[in-house]
Structures are given as structure tokens and as C-alpha cells.
């Protein structure tokens, strides 16, 4: 099969590869880029565990071909933490016990980040709605909702502190 060159920015790093046009973005990220944090639960677009952030939107990487992401900015779970520090959303999942087996977690984190980027102070119903495209078989969701609510507060507090500081 003829291969196509693809070039994307993943977690801030420019990545290029020659791939089959039918390669899914999920497989590209996991296998070609060796970032296995993105998980594949159903490969038919329902469970959301493969969610990654493409140009600011949480998308199903199992429903997208890698070549469609040409030129995009992609964030996977590996790009959430930096310098050995968990992202505040990750920290909140840890503190609120928002994961058990952790298989759905990368997708949940992506959905949560998309929500909080757009809506820093969501209601519980908005949180529910935002993660209603992510299946979790372990937690019953309650602690995930707690985690996202708590992450929102942490992020708001940090934001407030920044704006209060004299330039």
C-alpha cells in the first residue's frame, strides 16, 4: 500500500512519519509515535477511551485517520503532565479517586480538559453532559464528576492568583 507522509505536532513536539493512509489516529499515536497512554476500548466510536485533543477539541482517535490530522496540534495524556508534575486535572482525579483500572482515564481527561478550557465553572449537569460520551465500567462516575469539579476550582484559583498579581 502506498504510504503518505504526515506531519503533526504532538505534545508540543513536531512528529513526521510515512504511514498507510488507512492508519487510524489511535494506532498512529500508540504504535508509530509510541505513546501508549491513549487507549482503545471499542474502536467504534462509543467508549471515548481513545479521546485525544486535536486543535483544542476532544476527538475520538479511533474514528479519525492519522492523515486527517495533518498539520494539527495534538495533545495526548502524555502531554498533560510536565516536568514530573501532574496536570491539575490529573491531580484532582488522584485526590478524588476518579479512576480505578485507569483504562478510560486518558479519554476522560481529554473530555474534562475540553470542558474546562471552554467553561471554567461548570455545573454538575454540565460535567455529566461533557463526559456522557465516555464509558467507565469501574467507577460509577461519581468520583470522576467530583474530580472535574475540584479541578475546575483549582484551575480557577490559579487563574485568579495570576490576575491578582501585579505585572
Amino acid at each position: 500500500m502506498k504510504k503518505i507522509a504526515v506531519s503533526v505536532t504532538v505534545n508540543g513536539r513536531q512528529r513526521e512519519a510515512l504511514i498507510a493512509p488507512r492508519m487510524l489516529l489511535s494506532d498512529f499515536v500508540r504504535q508509530e509515535l509510541e505513546l501508549p497512554g491513549t487507549h482503545v476500548g471499542c474502536e467504534h466510536g462509543v467508549c471515548g477511551s481513545c479521546n485525544v485533543i486535536v486543535d483544542g477539541k476532544a476527538v475520538r482517535s479511533c474514528l479519525m485517520f492519522a492523515v486527517q490530522a495533518e498539520g494539527s496540534q495534538i495533545t495526548t495524556v502524555e502531554g498533560f503532565s510536565a516536568d514530573g508534575e501532574l496536570h491539575p486535572i490529573q491531580t484532582a482525579f488522584w485526590e478524588e479517586h476518579g479512576l480505578q483500572c485507569g483504562f478510560c482515564t486518558p479519554g476522560m481527561l481529554a473530555s474534562a480538559k475540553e470542558l474546562l478550557d471552554a467553561n471554567p465553572d461548570p455545573t454538575d449537569d454540565e460535567i455529566r453532559e461533557a463526559i456522557s460520551g465516555n464509558l467507565c465500567r469501574c467507577t460509577g462516575y461519581e468520583f470522576i464528576i467530583n474530580a472535574i469539579r475540584s479541578a475546575a476550582k483549582t484551575l480557577r484559583d490559579t487563574e485568579n492568583k495570576k490576575t491578582l498579581q501585579p505585572a
Binding site: 476500548g41 467508549c47 503532565s81 483504562f103 482515564t105 463526559i131 460520551g133 465500567r137 462516575y141
Partner: protein, 826 residues
């Protein structure tokens, strides 16, 4: 107690650590130590593992429920570039033998079908190729010619099948795999003396755990050593070499199973032996390491983990005043095409079949039926979730027929706090409990009285609002006799009686405490639990404890997380290990302090002289000195270098079944208790159920980590809600599985969960386990279906709807409402 139980003597307790107040780590909701690596995407699940030279497998599966394989043409597939090999069942059989079976006599099963397929999704050929895409392309090129046979879909009709419709004609004349009857105590007399006999026909339909990660394996065969190295997301990796070595034609010692972090199990990954045998055989045939990860469709149709699928004809004998006297039933269970675990799910249910009630006798006839569906495996509850529901349905039915309040009837028949340990008719004991306290707390938390008033008012306004209360048992810490005690007594099969859990603990010379576990992490919290218990016992800081997992060759005994056993069992192993470590720390430390071992104690990570400040040596110093400076200590093997121990904990209290099965012995004695109360509103126009309020109180004995326990309860409750309201595997008359995907098999999302979930705990410690810990991994699913069913029935009482089958999806509920309306009108 009835005389058939006279020979079932309760052994003395082996508990060493009684529960106590004011512990430092046990009982704290510490953050899980497993989480940072998982959260950062570095968990290491099965599909994250690669080995050099690895190829990928894809399967050719049966589109038919029941068919003969006339021919398989693999030539086109073999010709595709990138394909390493294409193999049929006959090819696989040159290197592997049939799968193991706990059924006795066994129902033969091959990891890849030979001659005949017995369910949709059964594997008939496999491709090994350079990558999965090519493997799947090639799988599509394999041509199979079929001769279609009649399919068995209905549980009762399957029993009548003859001729070509019989699944295993070489081994069995009919589709009845097992038919055994048991009677425990004076059942006949109790029924003869009863004032009322309440009868119900109850149906529990098929679904399964569907963890978000499917099963997967990476197998390597070493032709020179003749052994396998296998990565697998199995729960049971230290045990399975002994079960499947024969199938892979190697000795157990030549089979190295390497565990991985597992993306959820709920029972579905207990053994995963078929996929291990299949992938192992492919690796041997292809001569390269092979990775095979089930896709979701294969997980639905071929993963051998479908849940219970039962039809009960149940009877409860009741006296005039509402006292329950005896329970009996005949149960048909649709096990699908094979019978890997025998009727272990019914053995399990015998642990608590009479619920929290004083019922003096019990009888059962269990018939295992073979049909053209994927075979059953474990799913959270392992059969007891069904009998809990049956018992609670029978109580509600009794209340309805006697015109009694269902809750009052429960309270009247409940085992009282001074009756423990309580032996039920089957011989199992309930070690301890206070059901009244659990119920009391649940009522209060829920605000039952206020809710009853409110519901009455809303019902008067014409709204369909109802309340359901379930009081159920949650057995934990299984003994393995449940796997075989119901087998035919002449051929009981492998009569296993051990379920040990082991641990290795070592202070390295820097003072870190390195732990090796022998059971994997499957979404439970093994590392957190062990950290909390060892920090408690050894006064070590949690951050100084490092946890690793053995493989099946380097490790010791371990049975894994299942049957709500792991926390209680590993706690026992931690106690054993820490007793030994403490002894060694004190011996070396005392010598360094020039004291006698009896004059020192463990204090804040130090060996310290009792009653004296500043007279102490840190564990790090002791570990270092004992590891590197042998000449600082006297001769004699008690000062052999280093501080290390391996310890194991056996089941705290179990006994054999009676030879004649007049009782089944003690096999699941560490019992929790749960009460779920839920208020629902049903929209009679659409059949949609909304949960208005939900309270659950669980008694799981001493709690190690309240938050992780709460997570288990929540998650189990979500599973139970799915079981009740939306999850069912559907088959058409040809045996086609019509909804094997996440879009049509509707598992609850965040939107389907109750908004006002309140959770409470009562702690009645077990007198038999260390610290009084009980298991709590299954409780939510053991209680939610009963409570929800009651609530829905109550909400629709104006329509006279009676619920006798689960799930009650909106269309099903609509049907029931319509039917009830018609019969009322007629």
C-alpha cells in the same frame, strides 16, 4: 440448627490481629499509590507491551450459531504480502490440546473450533502477519464453507433438542450438561407444614462485564527450552500454568506468565485461558512472538465471560404469621456452548442463597443447559447476584400475597445480631453481622418515612413513584469448593481446596521496603492496601514502600482479585510477613543497640529501646548493616545477611463439603451485608425509569481505605443499575447475537446514574480475618437490582405490573404496562 449440619463443625478462629481503634494507616482514605503512573499514561496495559520480532494475529470467526465446517480455504490469505501464516483448528491441534474444564464430566472445547462451530464468533482460523491491518485483510480472504445446523436459542427448547441440534453429540445425547438435586434440611416437612406456599417464575437474562479493556495476550515460544513466555491480562496468573500447561503441552514450570496492569475485570478476566492457549499455539506454529488483542466484537462474542442466564421456578414456604420456613427452586441455566467452570456460579450462590433471613431448609435442582451462545464466565457476583434478586423477589411476592409490608416482613425474618456465627442450611456460615443496624442507618439516610409520605402524595397526583428496599448478603473471601461441590458426586473433578495469597517483603540496604505481589492490579487497589497495612504494622512511611509484581515463575502462591477475597487475604499475608520482618529487624537492631531483642520495639521506622528516647537505629541503618557488614554480627544462621521474608496466608476458615452433599461445608464465610433503598419515577408513556433518590449502606467489616471501598460500591451499583435497566444480550431465532457493540448494548453513562447517591457504612468486624476485614468488591451489583426492581414494581402498583424478569428496559416496561392494563380491562 437442623441435624444435617451436625458434622459441619466451625473451626476455631486463626485471627492474630483483632480490630482496634486509633490505627494510623488502616482506615484512612489515602490517595492510591497506583495512580500517578496510570494517570500519566504509563500504566503498561497488555496492548502497551511489545516484544522484539512480534507479529500480530487476527481471527476468522463464525458468522453462524451452529454449523459444520465443510472446508476452509486459506490459500488467498496465505498469498497476501506480510502474512506469516494462516492456521485452522486442525493446525492448532497439532501443538495444543483442548482447553481445561472445571465441569465434570467436562464439555470438550478447543481454543479454535475443529469440524463444528457452536456459537457466533467462535474462531475457526487465525492469521499471523506483520501488522494487525494486514492480518485483518488476510482474515477476510479466508473462505469457509459451512453446513448450517439448527441453532438452540431458547433455554427450555434447547433441552428438548435432538439430532443435529445437539451441541456435543459425541459426549452427550442431549443439551443437558448437568442435572443435580440437593436438599439441605427438612424441606419436605417444612413445605408440608407451611400455611402459604409462594410461587414465582423468575428470569434473569444474559449480559456481561464488558470491561473497557478487552482480553489480550503476547505469547513467545522458545523451541530450545521448550517453554512459553506469555504476557496476559489474566487475574489468576500464578495459578493458571497448572491449569493450562497440559493444553499447551508444557509442564507448568515451563510456562512463564507475566502480569500486566489490567483495564478492568469484574470477573471477566479471571482465567482467560482460551486466549492464552490460542495465542500460545499460534506463536509456536508461526515461530515468532504473537500478539493478539480481542477487538470489542470478539470480546462480546468469543471471550467466554457471559454472565448468568437463568430461569427459576421458586417456592417459599411461609407460616401464617409471615415466618419464612423453607426455600426451594428448580433453576435452568443457559451456559452457552461450553461449560468451562462447571456450575461454579451455582456453587457460589449456595453461600448465601437464603439471604439475611432465618430459613431452616433449602432444596434445589440445578440444570445446566447448553445452547448456541458464547459460554458463561464470571461477572461480579458470580451467580450470587441472581439468587439475591430471587430471594428478594420472593420476599416482595410474599408481602404482596399476604398483604404485609415488605420491609416489616424482612425485619421479622432477619437473623438477629446474637445469632452469629450463623450456619445456613447449605452449611456455609455467616461469620458476623448486624443487619438491623445496616437497615436502620439506610432508612435514616434515605429518610424513608418522609419519602413514603411523599411517594403516596405523588401517587395520589397520578405519578408513578415507588420505593424499593433490598436487604442482601455480600459473601466474600471464597474457598474453591464452590467450583466443584455441585458436580456429580461420582466424578467431582479437580477437588481443589486451597486459595493462598502470598507476599515477599525485603528491606533493601537503603531502607526501602520492597514488596512483591503475586496477583495483578485489575482496577482494585492492591498496592494501596498493602502499603497501608505494612505502614501500620512496621511503622514505615508509605513512600518508603515499593511494590512490584512477580511473574508465575519468580513468584509464589497467589490466586488474585476475585470473589471479593483479595484485601482480606493479602492482609493476612501482610500480617504473616510483618511478624517475620519485625523479628529480624529487632534481632539485628537490638544487637546494634547492644540490647536484647525483647527490650526493643518498632517506632517510627526505627528499632528503639523500649521506654528510652534516642536509643534507636533506623531501618535503613539496620538493613544496610545487616546486608553489607556481616562481621558486625555474631556467627550463626539467625544473623544471615539481609532482611527478607516470604509469607503466605491460607483461607481463614473453611471446611470440606459432606461426602453425601447433605451440606457443602464452610466455603464463603466472611459475609458483608448491604441495604439499598431507592425511589424511582416511571414514565408510563415511555417506560423510562428515573432514580429520584438512592441510599446504600454496606457493612464490609473493618475498612482499610474508605474511599477506595466507596469506589467499589459505586462502580458495582452502576453495574447493577445497568443489569436492571438496560443491559441484555439479544439473540434472534437463528442464534445471531444482535447487539454486540457499545452502541446497542447500553451500559450506563454518567447521565444514567442517580443524582443523589448517598453511601453509608457499618463496620462489623469479622472474627476470623486479620483486623476483621471483609471483602467489598461486588456488593453494589449484589444489591442494586433487587432494590430497583422493587421500586419500579411499587411505582407501577396502580397498574398491577409485576416484574419477573430483568432487565426492564423502557420497551419491556412499556410492554408490561400495556399487558397489565389489558388484563385489568379484560
Amino acid at each position: 440448627m437442623a441435624s444435617h449440619l451436625d458434622t459441619n463443625v466451625i473451626p476455631p478462629s486463626r485471627q492474630r490481629e483483632a480490630p482496634r481503634a486509633g490505627m494510623t494507616w488502616i482506615g484512612q482514605s489515602i490517595k492510591r499509590v497506583e495512580d500517578p503512573r496510570i494517570l500519566s499514561g504509563k500504566g503498561g496495559y497488555i496492548d502497551d507491551v511489545t516484544v522484539p520480532g512480534m507479529a500480530h494475529a487476527a481471527m476468522v470467526t463464525s458468522p453462524h450459531a451452529h454449523a459444520r465446517i465443510v472446508s476452509i480455504d486459506t490459500s488467498k490469505a496465505k498469498a497476501l504480502a506480510g502474512v506469516i501464516g494462516v492456521y485452522t483448528g486442525a493446525d492448532l491441534a497439532t501443538v495444543v490440546d483442548p482447553c481445561p474444564s472445571f465441569a465434570s464430566p467436562p464439555v470438550p472445547q478447543h481454543a479454535m473450533a475443529i469440524d463444528k462451530v457452536r456459537h457466533v464468533g467462535e474462531v475457526v482460523a487465525a492469521v499471523v502477519a506483520e501488522d494487525r491491518y494486514i492480518a485483518e485483510d488476510a482474515a477476510g480472504l479466508v473462505e469457509v464453507e459451512w453446513e448450517i445446523l439448527p441453532a438452540n436459542v431458547d433455554i427450555e427448547a434447547a433441552l428438548e433438542a435432538t439430532g443435529d441440534a445437539v451441541l456435543h453429540p459425541d459426549d452427550r445425547e442431549s443439551n443437558k450438561a448437568l442435572d443435580e438435586s440437593f436438599s439441605f434440611g427438612p424441606v419436605e416437612e417444612d413445605f408440608a407444614a407451611a400455611d402459604h406456599i409462594i410461587k414465582r417464575r423468575l428470569r434473569w437474562n444474559r449480559s456481561s462485564a464488558q470491561a473497557i479493556e478487552t482480553c489480550g495476550v503476547i505469547a513467545q515460544f522458545d523451541p530450545f527450552k521448550g517453554g512459553y513466555t506469555i504476557h496476559a491480562n489474566s487475574n489468576f496468573y500464578n495459578f493458571i500454568p497448572f491449569v493450562i500447561g497440559g493444553s499447551l503441552r508444557v509442564s507448568p514450570g515451563e510456562l512463564r506468565i507475566v502480569p500486566v496492569l489490567t483495564g478492568g475485570s469484574f470477573g471477566s478476566k479471571v482465567f482467560t485461558h482460551k486466549i492464552i492457549i490460542l495465542t500460545g499455539g499460534l506463536a509456536r506454529l508461526a515461530g515468532v512472538p504473537v500478539k493478539y488483542i480481542e477487538d470489542r466484537l470478539e470480546h462480546f462474542t468469543n471471550s467466554d465471560s457471559h454472565g448468568s442466564d437463568r430461569l427459576y421456578d421458586a417456592e417459599l414456604a411461609v407460616s401464617k404469621d409471615g415466618t419464612f420456613k423453607s426455600l426451594r427452586f428448580t433453576v435452568l441455566d443457559d451456559y452457552g456452548a461450553y461449560l468451562q467452570f462447571g456450575v461454579g456460579t451455582h456453587g457460589n450462590a449456595m453461600a448465601q442463597v437464603t439471604g439475611p433471613y432465618q430459613i431452616g431448609s433449602f432444596a434445589m435442582r440445578v440444570i445446566a443447559v447448553l445452547t448456541n451462545k458464547t459460554q458463561q464466565g464470571p461477572y461480579r457476583g458470580f451467580g450470587s447476584e441472581v439468587t439475591n434478586w430471587v430471594m428478594e423477589r420472593m420476599v416482595d411476592a410474599t408481602a404482596a400475597e399476604l398483604g404485609r409490608d415488605a420491609l416489616e416482613l424482612r425485619e421479622q425474618n432477619m437473623i438477629q445480631p446474637d445469632q452469629f456465627p450463623y450456619m445456613i442450611p447449605t452449611g456455609n456460615i455467616y461469620d458476623s453481622g448486624n443487619f438491623q443496624e445496616v437497615l436502620g442507618q439506610a432508612k435514616e439516610m434515605f429518610g424513608l418515612d418522609a419519602w413514603r409520605e411523599k411517594a403516596a402524595k405523588l401517587r395520589a397526583e397520578g405519578r408513578c413513584v415507588g420505593i424499593g428496599v433490598a436487604t442482601c448478603m455480600e459473601r466474600s473471601v471464597y474457598g474453591p469448593t464452590e467450583w466443584w461441590s455441585l458436580n456429580n458426586r461420582e466424578t467431582p473433578g479437580f477437588t481443589l481446596t486451597s486459595t493462598p495469597e502470598g507476599i515477599t517483603a525485603r528491606f533493601d540496604p537503603s531502607g526501602k521496603l520492597f514488596i512483591t505481589l503475586n496477583s495483578p492490579m485489575v482496577g482494585n487497589s492492591p498496592e494501596t492496601v498493602v502499603t497501608q497495612i505494612l505502614a501500620e504494622r512496621l511503622t514505615v512511611a508509605p513512600e518508603d514502600i515499593v511494590i512490584n509484581y512477580s511473574d508465575s515463575q519468580s513468584g509464589f502462591n497467589g490466586v488474585g482479585p476475585q470473589g471479593s477475597r483479595f484485601t482480606a487475604m493479602i492482609a493476612g499475608a501482610c500480617v504473616s510477613a510483618s511478624i517475620k520482618l519485625e523479628e529480624r529487624l529487632k534481632r539485628f537492631g537490638a544487637h546494634m543497640l547492644q540490647r536484647r531483642p525483647e527490650d526493643v520495639e518498632l517506632r517510627g521506622g526505627m528499632v528503639a529501646v523500649k521506654g528510652l528516647k534516642d536509643q534507636e537505629k533506623s531501618f535503613a541503618e539496620i538493613a544496610l548493616t545487616s546486608s553489607f557488614f556481616r562481621l558486625s554480627f555474631p556467627d550463626g544462621e539467625e544473623f544471615d545477611s539481609g532482611i527478607e521474608t516470604t509469607a503466605v496466608y491460607d483461607h481463614p476458615i473453611s471446611t470440606d463439603p459432606a461426602e453425601d452433599r447433605s451440606h457443602l461445608g464452610i466455603f464463603y464465610p466472611i459475609v458483608g451485608h448491604i441495604c439499598h433503598i431507592v425511589a424511582v419515577e416511571v414514565d408510563p408513556g415511555t417506560g423510562k425509569v428515573e432514580m429520584l433518590d438512592y441510599s446504600a449502606v454496606h457493612d464490609n467489616g473493618t475498612i482499610v481505605n474508605p474511599r477506595t471501598l466507596a469506589g467499589q460500591v459505586w462502580g458495582g451499583t452502576a453495574n447493577g443499575i445497568g443489569t436492571t435497566l438496560s443491559e441484555q444480550f439479544c439473540y434472534d431465532s437463528e442464534g445471531q447475537f444482535t447487539n454486540p457493540n457499545f452502541a446497542e448494548f447500553a451500559m450506563p453513562t454518567a447521565n444514567e446514574m442517580p443524582r443523589n447517591f448517598k453511601l453509608g457504612h457499618v463496620e462489623t468486624p469479622s472474627p476470623y480475618t486479620e483486623y476483621g476485614i471483609k471483602g467489598g468488591g461486588e456488593g453494589g451489583r449484589l444489591g442494586a437490582p433487587s432494590a430497583l426492581t422493587s421500586a419500579i414494581e411499587d411505582a407501577l402498583s396502580n397498574y398491577g405490573v409485576r416484574i419477573s424478569a430483568l432487565p426492564v428496559t423502557p420497551p419491556i416496561l412499556r410492554g408490561l404496562i400495556r399487558e397489565a392494563g389489558q388484563s385489568a380491562a379484560g
